[in-house]
């Protein structure tokens, strides 16, 4: 029965005059239609999660022609897109997402899914465009409410309570989208734009947005990481002074918290201890500080202040050597390149940072004509991080200057043979091989090798 008592928003029945008059909440025919399309949608979502994509697709396509509110029709298009992705037909899926957006412009999930397809296809410009639209839609007031909610007491959301559907429709928070956009821009040649996005992101952290605590955060790096990423972006954008300021901020926060020695242990099991910001963060704190010094060293190479660069790289290295690695059943030891184990990203970051900072110091020593020290650092760098292209090239350069030309040529040749790893987005941008204030021209080096061969 849809008539009888009317409930007010406090859940108290208001009887009396109303009780004798039946109130029509919804036309029965409309209700029938609503139930029909909602059932189709929920069924489609369940089938999709059971892997029955083609069955789901046909019923969803039938449902998309039913008379129904726009938001629900958009949902059928969106789910059809999901089915097509599962059936490895991304272009058709994109068509469905486009239809969903045309039907209901608030269908953020369609934008998000389109973005994922572009990312998969490597269409970076389209991906950035989709991210921008997604961020805009998410930050527009009111977009945070589910698009399907309406004031009718028989809201369609009542009939759409399905776990599969909820999982399918989840969309990252606006801040995560902003971060993805910033990173994409920086990595794909739109550095100034990326810098702006990073600065917007940092500003958002200092504002009092009460919804932020509710937002999920697992896709977003920790705040010091974001500072360092923004710093790296500024450095790539040739703004070393701004980068140094951001790094100083991080260092001032972490400096007094740095431990004397840290043991990086292989975690026993996957049990997340809930006890505060204590032991687990010691390594992270140390790595943040080291990375900040490393970036500051880079900044000084850009300013051609080689002495200061050496100082900062040294600070970074001194911090990094405090970390020992303890594998299961053995004593703590200084990590080496061939160490393996389930240490997560911390060990990778540690080794990479050590290799890069040794390389940076080696280059700085080269510029200061301290070739012996330079060679030591560059060789150590290659030992820790064998794939470091900069270290290989500069190591050859130093050998060349030391008149060890055959060794230099071998070193260069070996370096050119390294297939540059495609760094995925999970490696923070500050751990990429950033351009430093001195560079070597590969063609010139090849020319030298040729000359050597002639000689």
């Amino acid at each position: 029965m849809l008539c009888g008592e009317v409930w007010d928003d406090r859940g108290i029945t208001t009887k009396g005059k109303l009780s004798s008059i039946p109130m029509l909440i919804m036309d029965p025919r409309r209700l029938f239609e609503l139930l029909q399309i909602c059932t189709s949608i929920v069924q489609g979502a369940e089938r999709l999660s059971d892997g029955q994509s083609s069955e789901a697709l046909s019923s969803l396509q039938t449902a998309s022609t039913m008379p129904a509110p726009r938001a629900l029709v958009a949902l059928t298009h969106l789910l059809s897109g999901f089915c097509l992705v599962h059936m490895s037909r991304p272009q058709m899926a994109l068509q469905c997402y486009r239809k969903a957006l045309e039907t209901d412009s608030r269908c953020v999930c369609a934008l998000y899914q389109s973005m994922l397809i572009y990312r998969q296809q490597g269409n970076t410009q389209a991906e950035i465009q989709a991210l921008r639209l997604l961020h805009k839609t998410l930050t527009v007031a009111g977009a945070t409410q589910p698009a399907l909610a309406d004031i009718n007491p028989l809201s369609s959301s009542l009939f759409l309570s399905s776990q599969s559907l909820t999982t399918l429709l989840s969309v990252p928070s606006a801040l995560s989208v902003l971060h993805s956009m910033a990173l994409k821009c920086v990595l794909h040649g739109r550095v100034s734009e990326g810098v702006e996005h990073y600065l917007d992101l940092l500003a958002a952290f200092h504002s009092d947005d009460h919804n932020r605590m509710l937002a999920e955060a697992h896709t977003l790096p920790k705040l010091p990481d974001l500072y360092l990423e923004a710093g790296a972006a500024l450095l790539i954008d040739q703004r070393p002074a701004d980068c140094m300021a951001l790094c100083n901020e991080v260092i001032s926060m972490t400096m007094e918290l740095l431990p004397e020695n840290v043991v990086l242990e292989e975690p026993e099991e996957k049990n997340e201890p809930e006890t505060g910001a204590l032991s687990d963060d010691k390594v992270a704190t140390l790595l943040w500080t080291a990375a900040a010094y490393f970036l500051q060293g880079h900044c000084h190479t850009h300013l051609k202040d080689w002495k200061q660069a050496v100082t900062h790289y040294t600070r970074c290295i001194n911090l990094l050597v405090k970390v020992c690695v303890k594998q299961k059943g053995s004593q703590p030891q200084i990590p080496t390149a061939d160490i393996t184990g389930n240490f997560g990203t911390n060990l990778y970051t540690l080794q990479r940072l050590k290799g890069l900072s040794l390389a940076g110091r080696g280059v700085s020593f080269t510029q200061m004509d301290k070739l012996k020290e330079a060679l030591r650092d560059l060789q150590l760098s290659l030992h820790t991080f064998p794939d470091c292209v900069g270290s290989g090239l500069w190591c050859g350069e130093v050998l060349w200057r030391l008149s060890r030309r055959q060794e230099a040529a071998a070193c260069w040749k070996k370096t050119w043979s390294i297939r540059p790893q495609s760094l995925d987005d999970r490696v923070p941008v500050y751990l990429h091989e950033l351009q430093i204030g001195a560079s070597l021209d590969s063609s010139e080096l090849r020319h030298r090798i040729q000359e050597l061969g002639l000689a």
Binding site: I12, K15, S173, L175, F205, H206, D208, R212, M213, A215, E216, A217, H218, L220, K222, L223, P224, Y227, E249, V250, M253, T254, E256, L257, P259, E260, E274, T275, G276, A277, L278, D281, T285, W288
Partner: protein, 575 residues
């Protein structure tokens, strides 16, 4: 004046029960009874065990709401930046985020930075008993956090020597569950309901040198304040010392001023003997106040007891008039006052009770003409007179006189109601005077002054005052005799000899009739009927005088049959 109304904003409501007609707290369960439509609804609300929630700010970062004001609202504390980072991590500090810290009933202290996305509550420490107080020593930048459990478990969280977090645990005296508490720069104040205690925190917990790990905590000092249910943040008192605002369990707001404990740290503390003396002085001062108060209370109670005894005695079933423990007798007489003839009532209060009527009691006489025309002014024709008693011991008498009527201005009969009044305001001493207070009024006798009293002109000099009598009669009879008629009216009463000889009062009655016989207006023919009856006859040209006299005679003879018709007619108070 009623209690001040307190506004409670909706967001502070813990339980909303509309239309509840009664409520009861059983343990942690709140029961409400309400009626909805035809049925009664008993609702069980599980009340929340109290938790503690505070907000911590890094360094001098201003809290979100107050932009310019540097002072923090209650429940907010500022932590020294390094301490803040140690406790809550670099991220919260980098974001300049306030951190909320809560103490849970299971003893966990958990925190969450407000500005970090997706931040969840993380556990900092566990007290393993319900958390009662969490605070940071203020008002400056705190170098540690203090948490106190309900059963006296105390933890100080500060930086240790190695640069990490140090947790100093201790147990402090808590004879009863800790109800509330607060912290100032150097001390933790906490209430166990039975007492308010102050505990010195280790040096360095606020400002100064770095926090000391495992500092020995001295035992708390009792402040001798009980039933404190809530405490505000301590404030520095302008005259030195600390001021606490406390709310008692009964809803009373207390301001507790603690004297300056000692000078700034580093200066030598006063020798213990001096401290002991100060404490003794304080205690003896408290003792004095206590003793004075109890003496005063005792006196009041004793007097109140006496008032109640007297009241019970007089309110009991009235015995025969002569046996009444406190009674009033009176007589009327003409006297000359400022050259005017005034009929005066002389009233004697006789205390035959075993109690002393002390100050505070008042003899009150209300004079009411029984058949007077309403006065022209519209007010009450009655008049009243009060005579405060000083002290009337058992067996003593007090005589008072009141003017009843002036010559030519009386209207008989008059009723005089006597009562003893005790004002309760007198009990509470001078400061309560002027306020309306309750009083106890105990009716005694009611006296009637009639025509015969008005006629009475005094025994031995009866003839000499005949002029008074004729004037009196003229004034009262004249109104009826303006036509100049010489006709006289006559009323006659025959009293049988049996009645005359009845009882012990007979000879008094005879003396009375003899007196009547001597009156010129009354012609009593007694001779021939002597053995059998006495005839009393009143004659006057005034019909009113004859009627009044006749009534007075009759009432006297009726009462005189049992009572000596002395100078008063007794009406028991209950009639």
């Amino acid at each position: 004046p009623g209690p001040a109304e307190l506004g409670v904003s909706p967001e502070r409501l813990v339980v909303e029960a509309g239309g509840a007609s009664s409520l009861l707290l059983v343990g942690s369960v709140l029961l409400t009874l309400s009626q909805r439509d035809e049925s009664w609804l008993l609702t069980v609300h599980q009340t929340q065990t109290p938790t503690v929630l505070i907000c911590l700010h890094c360094g001098d970062a201003s809290p979100p709401s107050s932009s310019s004001d540097s002072s923090l609202p209650g429940g907010h504390f500022r932590l020294e930046p390094l301490m803040f980072r140690l406790l809550f991590g670099v991220e919260a500090a980098l974001a300049g985020s306030p951190v909320v810290l809560c103490g849970l009933p299971d003893g966990r202290l958990a925190f969450a930075p407000l500005r970090l996305p997706g931040s969840r509550l993380r556990v900092l420490h566990s007290l393993e008993q319900p958390v009662a107080v969490v605070a940071a020593p203020g008002p400056g930048l705190a170098r540690c956090l203090v948490a106190l459990g309900e059963r006296g478990g105390l933890v100080l969280i500060g930086a240790d020597r190695g640069g990490g977090l140090g947790f100093t645990e201790a147990r402090v005296a808590a004879p009863a569950p800790v109800a509330c508490g607060c912290v100032d720069e150097r001390r933790l104040y906490y209430s166990t309901g039975s007492d308010l205690l102050a505990l010195d925190l280790p040096e360095g917990s606020s400002g100064g040198d770095g926090g000391e790990e495992a500092a020995a905590l001295p035992s708390p000092t009792s402040l001798n304040v009980c039933r404190v249910a809530a405490l505000s943040e301590p404030a520095r008192h302008t005259a030195g010392g600390v001021e606490l605002l406390a709310l008692s369990e009964r809803g009373r707001l207390l301001r507790i001023r603690l004297p300056e404990r000692r000078a700034e740290s580093g200066v030598a503390t006063p020798p213990s003997s001096q401290a002991g003396r100060r404490l003794r002085d304080l205690l003896s001062a408290i003792g004095d106040v206590c003793e004075r108060w109890s003496q005063q209370t005792n006196a009041v109670l004793r007097r109140l007891n006496q008032v109640i005894s007297v009241s019970l005695l007089l309110a009991a079933e009235p015995p025969a008039p002569r046996q009444r423990p406190v009674r009033c007798v009176g007589g009327a007489s003409w006297s000359s006052l400022l050259q005017r003839r005034v009929l005066t009532l002389r009233c004697v209060l006789h205390n035959a009770s075993p109690y002393v009527l002390e100050a505070g009691w008042t003899l009150s006489l209300a004079v009411l003409p029984l058949c007077a025309p309403a006065p022209a002014g519209g007010g009450s024709p009655s008049r009243s007179f009060s005579f405060p008693l000083r002290r009337l011991s058992s067996g003593d008498k007090l005589e008072v006189s009141v003017p009843l009527a002036e010559d030519g201005d009386a209207c008989f009969p008059l009723s005089v109601s006597c009562s003893l009044v005790f004002s309760l305001s007198g009990l509470l001493g001078g400061e309560e005077a002027g306020r309306p207070a309750g009083c106890v009024s105990l009716p005694l006798d009611t006296l009637t002054v009639d025509w015969l009293h008005g006629l009475r002109v005094g025994g031995p000099r009866a003839g000499a005052v005949g002029g008074d009598l004729s004037g009196f009669l003229r004034s009262h009879g004249g109104r009826r005799n303006e036509s100049g008629s010489t006709q006289t009216y006559c009323a006659c009463v025959r009293v049988s000899a049996a009645l005359l000889s009845h009882g012990r009062s007979s000879d008094v009655f005879l003396r009375l009739t003899a007196w009547y016989l001597s009156r010129p207006v009354l012609q009593v023919a007694a001779g021939e009927e002597s053995p059998a009856a006495v005839r009393v006859q009143a004659e006057s040209p005034s019909v009113a005088a004859v009627c009044g006299l006749h009534h007075a005679l009759l009432s006297r003879i009726q009462v005189g049959a049992e009572e000596p018709a002395g100078l008063h007619v007794v009406t028991p108070p209950s009639l």
